[in-house]
Point group: C2
Chain length 271, copies 2
């Protein structure tokens, strides 16, 4: 039987910050079943906090805190020391270092990371941009984009565009089909902002078969035929060479990893 | 003059995990200028690690680690203790608690949080779904969606759809325009999966004016006229009442906060 572990998250805002870290930690324990949907947002009163911590003890849960209110964070820490509650404070170790380094105290304003500032609106407009200019729908997007992704079907152009957009990178993409000429404007774009995507043909066969299945279509389609796919890839590679742009092999790469490669390229260029 | 703080991030994979936490911490110090683009990914050798840590001391930087390799993490901790380097390890406090609780050790596999498993592919297909069915482009999406967002122009339907999709929620949205009848299928959908979006009219005037400006269009348009907007909102509110669906006011809410409200509704329903 698999071991089970409960994780409580306590926050004075919506509690978004701890989720990514918990995902990274729990991924290191494939043999433990984690229950981490015990999410306690908007904890703003001491009584409310202590009640949650008491429940955590009963549930033998680990408590992860992103409380920014110093008073509440201290109460939780004291409670944990007295009771042996397993408690992790993600914010305060940082705050203490910053205090000793700069003498500055945090403003203790919950949820301020979601502030509607210029950065926020840039990110939102990058997301809207990526949706609007997905799939080469409108060639006007290519000139305005920060990044243009080119690739044959199922080389993860769309999710990669959305991921980059979420990092405020205005991303457009163009599907490559040997029979369809590419828009003239592509040849005039700065090559620094274009990236070619490829994938191993065997992997693409599987991915495309799954897609056909999901769409309820005949599996024997040309679309998932290895010879067809090899022809498409040869066409794409030739184009990438002509354009002199970097090529990213997305086989076995997650979106985060492919995006990382692109961001490193962009960083190098801006240096 | 503003104080400046350098943050180094050290990871044995791409170093994505620490970014969100650092954003949340630094948001609490509006008066400090943070330089946190010193990102050191794929740190897999002790010499490489120590060299980075030495540079951090020279730069008076804070080092944030998400190293999952126990040997490397211990070297970094020892180095920090000897030298007084300001060092925060985000993973190991968790690992220690899990070790004491379950006797299980982490598999120490860098980057495994980006594993291409079923969850990952669900998320990717939710993102593709949301792009495909954005803006009511294809009414087939409404039946298949987990969530359908309804709202007049500029109530953040698109970014909210993308955010939910990134949480693996298949989201479609329908723009509401008083002069355009809504698709018949909307009346047949389970009302539990529909959400109405509204926004204060004064805020919408500003947002729409900005949009017109961004598009290089005449600012005196009907589109940003307060009477027109009030009429659209009245129409939307009446429809939401008829459909008996929850209404979310997105004024002054970030996408994360609006999404949180929706996720809480979904959670309540599934209980």
């Amino acid at each position: 039987m698999k071991k089970e572990v409960l994780i409580y998250t306590v926050s004075d805002s919506i509690g978004e910050t701890s989720q990514k870290l918990i995902a990274a930690v729990t991924a290191q324990y494939p043999d433990i079943v984690f229950h981490n949907n015990y999410r306690f947002p908007f904890v703003n009163h001491e009584e409310q906090l202590i009640e949650i911590l008491r429940d955590a003890i009963k549930d033998k849960a680990i408590v992860v805190s992103t409380l920014v209110n110093a008073q509440l964070a201290m109460s939780a820490r004291n409670f944990a020391e007295k009771t042996g509650l397993q408690y992790i404070d993600l914010m305060n170790p940082f705050f203490e270092i910053l205090q000793s380094k700069t003498g500055t105290t945090p403003i203790q304003q919950p949820g301020i990371v979601h502030k509607l500032n210029a950065d926020y609106f840039n990110r939102i407009s990058a997301i809207e941009f990526a949706v609007k200019y997905d799939d080469g729908k409108d060639p006007h997007g290519f000139a305005e984009a920060d990044v243009v992704l080119l690739g044959i079907s199922r080389t993860s152009k769309t999710p990669l565009s959305m991921y980059l957009a979420n990092k405020s990178v205005k991303t457009a993409n163009l599907p490559l089909i040997p029979e369809v000429p590419i828009p003239e404007i592509i040849y005039q774009l700065p090559k620094e902002k274009m990236f070619g995507l490829i994938c191993a043909p065997e992997a693409l066969v599987k991915i495309r078969q799954n897609r056909l299945q999901a769409l309820g279509l005949n599996q024997d389609s040309n679309y998932s035929d290895i010879h067809r796919i090899e022809k498409e890839l040869a066409y794409a590679n030739e184009l990438f060479k002509k354009l002199e742009i970097p090529v990213i092999d997305v086989t076995e790469k997650s979106i985060e990893e492919s995006a990382f490669v692109i961001q490193e390229h962009l960083k190098k260029q801006s240096n």
